[in-house]
Point group: C2
Chain length 189, copies 2
Amino acid sequence: MRTRMNREDRRTAILDAAIAVIGERGFHGFSIRELALRCAMTDAGLLHHFGSKTDLLLAVLDRRDMQDEHAIAALLPHGAAPRSRAQVLQVLAAIVARNAQHPELVRLYAMLRVEALAADHPAHAYFVTRDRMARRRFAELLNLPGEAPDRLARQVLSAMDGLELQWLQEERGFDLVATWNETAERLIP
Amino acid sequence: MRTRMNREDRRTAILDAAIAVIGERGFHGFSIRELALRCAMTDAGLLHHFGSKTDLLLAVLDRRDMQDEHAIAALLPHGAAPRSRAQVLQVLAAIVARNAQHPELVRLYAMLRVEALAADHPAHAYFVTRDRMARRRFAELLNLPGEAPDRLARQVLSAMDGLELQWLQEERGFDLVATWNETAERLIP
DNA sequence: GTCTATAACTCGATAGAC
DNA sequence: GTCTATCGAGTTATAGAC
C-alpha cells in the first residue's frame, strides 16, 4: 500500500531531500533523477512540482530563508545602540548552537557559498545579497566601543563559518558551541 | 601557425587551466570538453595526457603538493620546542601572504574541501590525510606555554580558511594579510 | 498527481587515421 | 601527439497516457 501525500507534504519532502543531496554533491553534481529516487518517485514526477533544476534550488533557498528569518530576527537585536560584550557573546553562541542542530543546512550553505562564487551560478545573486546583509547585521551587533564594526564583523563571521566547516570535516568530533565560545571570547575585545 | 608544445609544457598548461576550472565549477561541475576548449584542443587530445577525469584531479593535487611542500616546509619550523608568540605570528602571516598571491589555488582548495566531505569523492582520502597533517603541524607550531595546542590549532586553522574564503567572496576587496594579522593577534594569547 | 516514453543534448572514454 | 568519429550512458525537460 502506497503512502498518499498531498501537494504540500510532497513538496516539503522533496525540499528536505534536496537540502541533503545538494549539500553532498553540489548543484552541478546532483541529478534530478538521483533526488527523485531518494523520494521514491520518478524525475518527471518531481519536475511536476518544481519546473526545473534551477527553480528547485531557488525554492530550497526561499523556504530556508523564510524559516530562518524568524529565528535569526529573534536572536539579533535591532538598532545601532552599543550593547554589552556579554550580550554580544550570548547572541553569537545562540546562532552557533542553532546551526549545530542542523548540520545538513551548514553543509548546504558551505557548498553553495563556494559554488556560487561563480557569477553564472544560479545562487550567485542570492549569496551576494545574503552575505552583504549578514555583514551589515553583524556590524550592527558588533558596534562595540572603540572598535571598527565592519572589520570585526568580517573576522567574526568568517571565523564562525570556518569553524563550522571544520566541525563537519572532523565529523562533528568536537563540541562546536564550546569551541566557538572560546574563539569568540578571544576575537571580541 | 600553431604553437608547438612538448609533453611537459602541455601537461603543465592543462594542469594550470584545470586549477581554474575546477575551482570555479567543482569536480562534478566541470567537463573534460570544457577544459580542453580552454586549452585549445579536443577532449580526446586532453585525455591522451591524463587517462581519466579522476586521474586529472589527482594529478592536479599531486603537483600542487610537491610544489607547496617545499614552501610550507621552509616556513614551518620543525621540532616540538615551544617558541615565542612573535615567531608564531610571523610564520602564520607568511603562509597567508603566500596564499594571497594565489587566489585560484585558494579557490580550488575551498571548493574541493567542501566537495570532498562526501566519502565517494575522488579527493576524499586526500583531504582526510592532508587536513590531519595540517592540524598536527599547526598544533606543533602553536605549542605555546599554558595552551592546549590541538584546540588552538583547530581555531586558528579554521579562522584562516574562513577569512580566505571571505576574501574571495568580497572579490579581494580588503587586505587579507592585514586583516589576518589582526585576527591572529587576538586569537593567539 | 504520477507515470512511461522520448526528445535533444552532453558526458567520459575509446578506436583508429594522420 | 592530436585529430575525427563514435559509443553507450547519462542529463534536463517535455508530451501525453492513466
